[in-house]
């Protein structure tokens, strides 16, 4: 009799706990937001300033390769807040010497300038749309400099192991869906480093069309840093590989350098030749 009872009780308990867990995940926007916030801080804001040399390989459907090489300087105003970015292009030759200055703001459009050395022109760039391709790659401006936490609803949907990494899975849905070309994104966020290891982009019809994957993480000056990643465009069968080299934190970058002068006179101490 005891045995007879215990089986349905256990089954019931299992069912209840299962649905409870499911429920907590389904409604867990708070922990979704927390996880996403930790990811943004780990990925876009580590330390106060950073310098890295970035190489991109853009490979199209025919296997033709285009390459970009650039140096990026970053400085945080506040952790999770506004940021300064400076990007100097080394390659290919036709864009060598061109540079970008971006002042990223939360809550309003970024300020962005482009310098064209051949005509000594400092051009102000309109930035209403941050989903455009960055330097002709499969990454968008937003992929490079981050998407504001409050633009999406973040829901923790479960945990999953990705290889040896134990990850939180977060589904992010834009709050204003009409303005954006994806319906939602799914992030696999490593529980230890808080870095996203995989991001799936779903289009407005709910079809997976773009996948980001982290390929290498190195601990640099005590900070876990993604040093190799790929963005695959499934629809157009192309991808962009991005590699970060010579990453250094605490390079001594200060806010007073992020002005027009930086564009016309690249800071050789950080960008080299």
């Amino acid at each position: 009799m005891k045995k007879m009872l215990s089986v349905p009780v256990i089954l019931f308990l299992l069912f209840v706990s299962g649905s409870l867990i499911k429920n907590t995940y389904a409604q867990d926007t708070q922990s979704g937001k927390t996880a996403m916030n930790e990811m943004l801080l780990a990925y876009y804001y580590p330390q106060t300033d950073a310098k890295s040399e970035i190489s991109m390989r853009i490979v199209n459907r025919q296997g033709q390769v285009r390459e970009r090489r650039l140096t990026m300087l970053r400085l945080n105003e506040t952790p999770g807040g506004g940021q300064f970015y400076y990007i100097y292009f080394h390659e290919p030759a036709d864009v060598k010497g061109m540079s970008f200055l971006v002042l990223k703001h939360l809550g309003r459009d970024d300020d962005r300038w482009l310098y064209l050395p051949a005509i000594d022109l400092v051009k102000r760039i309109a930035t209403s749309n941050r989903r455009t391709s960055f330097a002709g790659s499969d990454f968008t401006y937003e992929d490079v400099s981050g998407r504001a936490l409050d633009e999406d609803e973040h829901v923790l949907t479960g945990d999953e192991n990705l290889g040896a990494y134990s990850c939180l899975v977060v589904k992010s849905t834009p709050k204003r869906p009409g303005e954006i070309e994806f319906s939602y994104m799914k992030f696999w966020i490593d529980k230890t480093t808080h870095l996203s290891l995989k991001v799936e982009h779903y289009d407005l019809k709910g079809k997976l069309y773009k996948v980001y994957e982290t390929q290498e993480i190195q601990t640099i000056q005590g900070t876990p840093t993604i040093t190799k990643a790929v963005m695959k465009d499934l629809e157009n069968e192309r991808y962009t590989e991005i590699t970060m080299k010579n990453v250094s934190y605490g390079a001594g970058i200060t806010s007073d350098i992020f002005q027009e002068r930086l564009l016309r006179r690249p800071p050789r101490q950080w960008i080299g030749e």
Binding site: K96, R108, V122
Partner: protein, 490 residues
């Protein structure tokens, strides 16, 4: 003194070209010579390609090299490094352009085409680490030169685009001396406070946008401060715009009172090279939040020959000019995009009353611009430009029959639309100038395809419309053209 001697030489032979670089006329029976030069050119090109091809070899990372060359003495190693350095920093492009004319007015030197040329551009930067005092100034020397084989002019020209040194004697100061390209202001193909020389001939025949800006031999002194920053540009040697003179593009010659081509024989007098003819341009600028503001002042000369020295000998000159202006640029509130505004008072110093009908009057110029981006790599921009001739009553009272009739207000609208495809490797754009007051327009469609990191193909056109023969774009109506350009960058 020099200026006076120069003034007697007709435009086509003016030494200004010589000053900008060397010029070898090819002569008329020059096919053989042309081939020889093409041969020299191709050797150069092959040489450059060889260098660029072996770039990877030169640029091998330093560590394995050190291991490999352990037995080589330090000095030799250093030398090898410096050569690596030099080769690695030579860049540029070669290009070929063909720009046929639509059936035009057949008044220019060649009637079938505007452009048939090959160009080799080389640029190199050098940052010396010695001596110590210089190194502490963070010096940077830059050189950019073009070898141009120009079938239209039947010349092979070498033009130095830039040759300058840039140093920071103090942490808050930069000094750039030498030949340089100078740009400021907020306009898109429209200039109010940017008083630096332009090459409108290149612009309208389909050369790359780079060639709209002509270099200046100048010193630029920049001071940076978080309160206000300042540029002072000193131009000791006057450089005029490369204006349209009938050789390549026919235009309205007011001496002849009609559209003229190669028969136009105006004589241009440039200001003499004298201390008091040094041009000075300054800009004070700072940001207020996301808004960039600047004020400008300039004293020098008009870049266009808008003064007549002697009507009977058809002598024109560049009158004295001062410009004072201001600009602001920043995000458009609530709608997104970038809005800009610029204003300038152009003070015609040799005709401040406006009574002299032979010299351009003073003017007020206003510019309002708006640009924004849309989804899927689409950008659009619009500008409204207004020019008011000052002392218009004097202008009217003193005009004589045969003088070009003008309105007090000239309005100009521009529209730009750009769309990129295939991850920004294909770009289609259309730029339009339209003046409702002059009833004229210029349309510039362009399609550029970046086939890979080195090859680029561009086609485009310049098409002009106008009700009258004497307006800015109306006078160019007989010069409609299109162009095809192939460029290899390295």
């Amino acid at each position: 003194m020099l200026g006076k001697v120069y003034s007697l030489i007709p435009r086509g032979l003016k030494p200004r070209l010589l000053r900008r670089g060397w010029l070898w006329p090819l002569g008329h029976s020059a096919l053989k010579e042309y081939l020889a030069l093409a041969w020299v050119g191709s050797i150069l090109i092959v040489f450059i390609l060889a260098i660029s091809g072996s770039e990877v070899l030169f640029a091998e990372p330093a560590t394995p090299d050190v291991l490999k060359i352990g037995s080589i003495s330090q000095d030799e190693k250093k030398q090898a490094d410096s050569w690596t350095h030099i080769f690695d920093s030579v860049h540029g492009f070669i290009e070929a352009v063909y720009g046929p004319k639509f059936s035009g007015d057949k008044l220019t030197q060649k009637n079938d085409y505007n452009l048939l040329e090959q160009r080799l551009q080389l640029k190199v930067a050098y940052r010396p680490q010695k001596p110590a005092w210089l190194a502490s100034w963070n010096p940077e020397f830059f050189y950019k030169g073009d070898l141009l084989s120009d079938k239209y002019k039947e010349t092979l020209r070498y033009q130095i685009r830039e040759a300058n040194g840039l140093v920071s004697p103090l942490s808050w100061m930069d000094v750039k001396l030498g030949r340089q390209i100078l740009t400021w202001g907020t306009g898109d193909y429209l200039f109010i406070n940017d008083v630096f020389p332009k090459d409108y001939e290149s612009f309208f025949i389909g050369r790359d946008d780079e060639y709209l800006k002509a270099p200046s031999d100048a010193g630029k002194f920049s001071i940076y401060n978080h309160l206000v920053s300042m540029d002072v540009v000193v131009i000791p040697f006057f450089t005029s715009d490369v204006s349209i003179n009938g050789d390549r593009l026919s235009f309205y010659d007011n001496f002849l009172g009609r559209i003229a081509g190669k028969e136009s024989n105006r004589i241009f007098t440039e200001p003499a090279v004298q201390f008091e003819n040094t041009e000075i341009a300054t800009r004070l600028y700072r940001n207020f939040g996301e808004y960039e503001t600047a004020i400008y002042a300039f004293k020098g000369f008009f870049n266009q020959p808008v003064g007549i020295k002697n009507e009977s000998t058809k002598e024109v000159f560049y009158p004295k000019l001062a410009v004072f202006g201001a600009s602001i640029r920043g995000p458009a509130p609530s709608v997104g995009g970038i809005v800009s505004s610029e204003v300038g008072y152009s003070d015609s110093l040799q005709d401040r009353s406006g009574k002299n009908r032979l010299i351009e009057n003073s003017a007020m110029k206003y510019l309002l611009g708006y640009e924004r981006d849309f989804q899927k790599d689409l950008r659009a921009g619009i500008q409204y430009f207004l020019e008011q001739m000052l002392n218009f009553d004097e202008f009217k009272a003193n005009s004589q029959s045969g003088d070009i009739s003008r309105d007090e207000f000239r309005q100009l609208l521009t529209f730009r639309i750009t769309k990129s495809f295939w991850l920004q490797t294909l770009e289609a754009s259309l730029f339009t100038f339209y003046s409702p007051t002059d009833s004229d327009a210029c349309i510039r469609p362009r399609l550029a395809w970046q086939a890979n990191d080195r090859w680029r193909f561009i086609v485009g056109a310049n098409i002009f419309f106008g009700k009258h023969d004497w307006t800015q774009f109306g006078q160019l109506e007989g010069n409609d053209n299109f162009y095809i350009r192939i460029r290899y960058g390295f």
